[in-house]
Structure formats: structure tokens, C-alpha cells
């Protein structure tokens, strides 16, 4: 069974800090995704990656960057955290871009 693991379930950071959210998948999937989930807005795509060192912007990339140095790991970086980045962050992966995605359990990030 596919396992997508996010390193932290809960995280509290301060405004201006650089924040790293880590995600690892164990199924050798080509594609990995970062979403944020906010009430009334559903899941919105921040960035995705279709190969090592490759990345594409999603719908809301502003204030975020990503890193994919290894196939199994996809990191989301908040360069200078702001309070409007308080949210639930979900990582996902799939083998092909026309297949359903497998999600991690999420990281609830609070920026104070």
C-alpha cells in the first residue's frame, strides 16, 4: 500500500521564520504535490514536481518554494512565514498524472 509520510502533524512557527515541511513517499512515484486546505476553499495546489529537480507552480505559489533532490522526497519551504500561511498542508503523490493521488495525513501549521 502506498505510504505518503509528512514529517510533522503539528507545527508552530513565528512570523518571518523560514519553515520546512517534508514529505516522503515509498512507492517510487514520479509525481509529488503540495496543497493547502482552508475552510470553504478546498484543496489548492501550491507546487508539484513531475521528476527529480523539476517543479511547476500550482495555483497559489506565492510565498512558497519547493525542493526535490531525491525522487521520494518533496519539501515545501516558506521563505518568510506570514500569518496568512497558517493552514493545513497536504502532500500527495501518484505514478502518472492521470491517476488519483495518494495523500499524507497533513501538517497543521500555525504561524504566530
Amino acid at each position: 500500500d502506498v505510504k505518503v509520510t509528512q514529517s510533522s502533524r503539528y507545527l508552530v512557527k513565528r512570523t518571518g521564520e523560514k519553515v520546512f515541511l517534508e514529505c516522503v513517499q515509498d512507492m517510487d512515484h514520479e509525481n509529488m504535490f503540495w496543497y493547502r486546505q482552508d475552510p470553504g476553499l478546498g484543496l489548492r495546489l501550491i507546487y508539484f514536481s513531475y521528476d527529480v529537480k523539476m517543479k511547476e507552480k500550482g495555483d497559489i505559489p506565492e510565498g512558497y518554494s519547493v525542493s526535490r533532490e531525491k525522487k521520494e522526497r518533496f519539501s515545501l519551504i516558506l521563505e518568510s512565514a506570514s500569518t496568512n500561511q497558517t493552514s493545513m498542508y497536504l502532500c500527495a503523490s501518484n505514478a502518472n498524472l492521470d491517476q488519483p493521488q495518494h495523500f499524507g495525513d497533513g501538517t497543521r501549521l500555525s504561524i504566530l
Binding site: G42, R44, L45, A92
Partner: protein, 114 residues
Amino acid sequence: DQQVKQNSPSLSVQEGRISILNCDYTNSMFDYFLWYKKYPAEGPTFLISISSIKDKNEDGRFTVFLNKSAKHLSLHIVPSQPGDSAVYFCAASEWGNYGQNFVFGPGTRLSVLP
């Protein structure tokens, strides 16, 4: 403006009855639709999908109906069980430069009452 809408934020249904969750979309280029279920403190899990060449897909107690002319799809759960209580996300996709681009709705919280 949201391309995928789920106009009911919540729905309550009695155990054993039918649950109907609705989803509307605006982009006529969407050609693949999915439903995900999400329990608290867990990530969404894929439930069922339908391609635009079909109008119905069934998997056990779950059936998804697609009405392309109305840009509407629905998820039917029969019979509903308390374990079905969760948030349900509708998602739609179209082909982009790198494959399917998925767009998610805001979700509907289903409560199945024993």
C-alpha cells in the same frame, strides 16, 4: 472564482438511507472527475472516479453520476453507514502541459446518524 463547487457545506442523513452529495463545475474542458473522502486528522483517500465518456460508475455502495450538459456530478451512498461520516471532496481535471490538472471543491461534511 471556483471552478468546482460543492454548495452544501454539510449534510446529515439517517443510517440506512441514501446520501447524495452534489458537485457542480464550470470548466467544460474537465474530462475526469473524482471523489475523495477525508476523516479528521487523516489525508484524503480516493473513493471513486468517472471519465467524461461515461454517465455512471458504481463501486459497491458508492455510485457517481455525471451530467455533462448540466456540468453536474453527484455521489450516491446506499445504504449510508455511520463510518461514512467524513468530509467528501469532489475533484475535476483536464489535460495540461504535464498531464491532468486536478481542481478540488471545498468539500461537504457528511454526518450519518445512527
